[in-house]
């Protein structure tokens, strides 16, 4: 009896643990194992050591010249940008009374819900390549351009458009968490702070709101990091081609899909995903450093 009691918590944990191991831990371990092999999904994996990683950083010119710079640029702007944007908007929305607040929150949250539909209805119409596209029509009428620009097919514009669209739809779960966090801050704290000499809203935000909602800030930060690095479909959805024109909108996940599901070089694709995992882990560490409870 005593023995059973000793292991009781494991028994209680077991449903979660089995699911966690089967669906999360095991795939990660398998992926890390596969990243050291050559595996084409037909023959059994063949051990090649670090070769996949060496190839990734030295031989894969598309990865080094297009994919990595694209991903860094995309996530450096969309990650912090979207994060700041969702905090600012959450804070603004939190200032409203209940009913308008709910309506606005819903409106701001909807882009991330309806991404696929709005992509077709809003953005592809706006950036249409012929002179009927809204942006082209506007610029033509103003006389800035003399012939329509193929916004979504030209390599020099695609990434910028992807960034704009992603920023617009970045008010996702992180936004909701932050909104909840801001609303949950104890009102008495503000009153106490005002007695202690806080004078304006900016100080209020910096001294009370942000420290009080650190957990939500952390959650939002991690969510936005993971989200930006794992974004894949947007370039393909906008340009309508895979790979995107001259790899202009190719992000890491596109690259993984390219190698994994088009070329069936599973081992190589696994290596790329491990690198992605490490990148995300490193950035999450930074987020922990900034907002984590020590």
């Amino acid at each position: 009896m005593k023995k059973i009691k000793k292991y009781m918590h494991w028994i209680l944990l077991s449903p979660y643990l089995t699911l966690f191991i089967i669906f999360i831990l095991l795939p990660i371990i398998v992926a890390i194992y596969l990243s050291f092999t050559y595996f084409n999904a037909i023959q059994p994996p063949r051990w090649v050591g670090l070769q996949n990683y060496i190839d990734l950083f030295t031989r894969d010119e598309i990865f080094m010249q297009k994919v990595l710079p694209n991903t860094i640029k995309f996530s450096l702007i969309v990650g912090p940008g979207g994060y700041i944007l969702s905090f600012v908007l959450a804070w603004l929305v939190a200032q409203l009374t209940k009913i308008p607040r709910t309506i606005f929150a819903l409106i701001l949250y909807s882009p991330s819900l309806t991404a696929g539909v709005t992509m077709a209805v809003v953005w592809r119409v706006l950036f249409n390549g012929d002179q009927q596209g809204y942006l082209n029509a506007l610029l033509l009428r103003l006389g800035f351009i003399d012939k329509p620009i193929q916004w979504l097919q030209s390599p020099e514009y695609l990434l910028t458009i992807m960034i704009i669209v992603s920023l617009w739809s970045s008010m996702g779960v992180g936004f909701l968490a932050m909104l909840a966090g801001i609303l949950n801050v104890d009102e008495t704290l503000y009153e106490a702070a005002y007695i202690d000499g806080i004078k304006n809203r900016l100080q209020e935000v910096i001294y009370i709101t942000i420290p009080a909602m650190k957990p939500q800030m952390l959650f939002g930060a991690v969510m936005s990091i993971v989200q930006t690095f794992t974004t894949a479909g947007i370039g393909v959805a906008l340009s309508g081609t895979n790979p995107t024109p001259q790899y202009a909108g190719q992000l890491i996940v596109n690259h993984i899909e390219d190698y994994g599901f088009l070329r069936y070089e599973m081992g190589y694709a696994a290596a790329v995903s491990v690198v992605l995992l490490i990148i995300i882990y490193l950035f999450s560490r930074i987020a922990w450093k900034l907002f984590g409870e020590s």
Binding site: L50, I54, F57, T58, M64, Q65, K73, L76, D146
Partner: protein
Amino acid sequence: MRKKAIFILLILSILAFSSNSTFLTYTIGQNNKWKITQDAYLVSEVILEDAGLYYPEDMYLKDGKLYIADSGNARILVYDLKTRKISEIGAWSLFTPTGVFVDNNYIYVADVGLSEIVIFDKNGNEIKTIGKPKSILFGQYTKFKPRKIVVDKRGNLYIVSEGSLDGIIQLDRNGEFLGYFGANKVRITALDKFIDLFYSKEQKERLLTRAPKPYYNLAIDNKGLIYTITQKEHGDAIKKHNTLGNNILYLSRLESMVDEGNFVDITVDNDGRIYALTETGLIYEYDQEGNLIFSFGGRAILYDKNGLFSVASAIEVDDEGRVYVLDREKGLVQIFNPTIYATKIHKALNLYIQGKYIESKSIWEDVLKYDGYSSIIHNGLGKAYFQEGNYKEAALHFKVAYSKREYSEAYWEIRNQFLQKNMKVIIILLFVIFVLFEVGGRILKKKGIRLKIKIRNKLLSDILYLKNLIRHPIDSFYYLRKSTHGSILSATIIYALFVLVVTFDYMGRSFIFNLNTSERSVGYVVFSAIVPIFLWIFSNYLVSSINEGRGTLKNIYIFTAYSTAPYIIFQPFIILLTYVLTYNESFLISFGSFFIISWTFIVLFIGVKETHDYELKGTIGSIIYSIVWILVIILVFSIVYMLWDQIVETVYGIIQEVLYRVR
């Protein structure tokens, strides 16, 4: 060894430059500047001096015969270069021939006076004339004043018509109007847009002439591509058109060609090299991408010399690379023969285009002996090395040639090779460091040991206080104001650090990312870093002291120094990064710099707010007033600077006067 070689080169070049040519050949050398190079062309002959040419406008070379549109005499003069015989065409039917073109069967003459194209056969018999197109598309009131003409292999006519803004007129062999070809674009700037907002319709019609610039002359190469020149353009005066009329000359599209605004004629040789002639007699030779190879010739100012011109009007080039230039004023043709130097460069360029990189390399190396600093040579040599896979040498030559983009590509390959060799070690090393950090950190935490060095020295700890500005700017500024940290001395040292970082940012970046500041001196950079800061301190003090700011002059001096913290701490990393990155990753540099500089300004903003204990509105107001003050100070200073002489004179005069009265 190398030094010796350079020395010999120098002597050689001195010997060569003392040639008896009457004009100099220029090329682009180091730092994209003009430099004198070996003679590329020498005048071998002057012909047609006694042919009575009177204001000849155009010239065409075909099958060893020069066809000259002798406008003043209303004829086409044909000069056989072999037999040296002169004959005449169209003396009875032409009025003012200004353009001539010859294909295998016919001679086409554009006559402005007649407003017609007149076509002759090779014997000089008039076949037919083509007048103004009757098509409605051409326009009933559009004028047809053909000045220059070329004809493609299908017999389509391309005509530059005087005052035509729509582009080149394209007619088929029967004179039917096919359309306009590749018109120049009108550039509307933001200023134009701004003016548009205020002008009425009538004013616009009267005052604004936003017409595209007309083409001045044109040429056709053996592939049937049309080349045009536009006057008063810079960077894209020369254009190469595809069949749609779009410009496909690489450098011209970037508007970064070395060209002149007064080109009058253009011609293309069989290898695709472009020769353009200015009215003043300068000849510019370009390679197929639009890079300048040579510039030679010039204007005869005081007395006539071979190779110089009074007013040049037409240029032609033959299969052997001889260049024929027509002088309109003097009515003669000068023939330039390419020297061995030029012939070798041409050969190397051709070999490179044919993909024979190794052969081209040996010639480039040979040519390098003639001129060690010409950028076209180093560029060619670099490209040859690049294709050969010798990236290190390629990078060296690209650096001399100042071709940043190519250098970046070569550098990318060098870096790639390095990574390929050492990747295994790097991956393992990174992993080991990572594990060490993680495990070490855990152990230290467990044992409760905290690594912290206590700094006793007040000055040092004041300077190191910079790092607190990164995480807690607001609190730090509070303590700075309360004088628990920071002093005049520490602030001064921080200013020195700031100036140091700025100087390195300007001067110390790698070749790829340097800011083209080779002409600027260190003094200039230091000056331009210090002056705005002191202007800011001064004007912010003035503004805040009347605006209820709490900060004293000392406070302002100190907080401004500490607000540069992000720049001082992080910009050095960006500068170091420029040494490992290429254009591929240039985004990181520009984004990083932008981020750090905006961060610095945000810290400065917070500093103003905390030091003077302002509200948000007061802060913005204070900053705006300070900036206005800075501008006022600069304005006053520049006025004083300009009137300095006057002031000195006045003061001197007053003193003189006083002295005089006293006596």
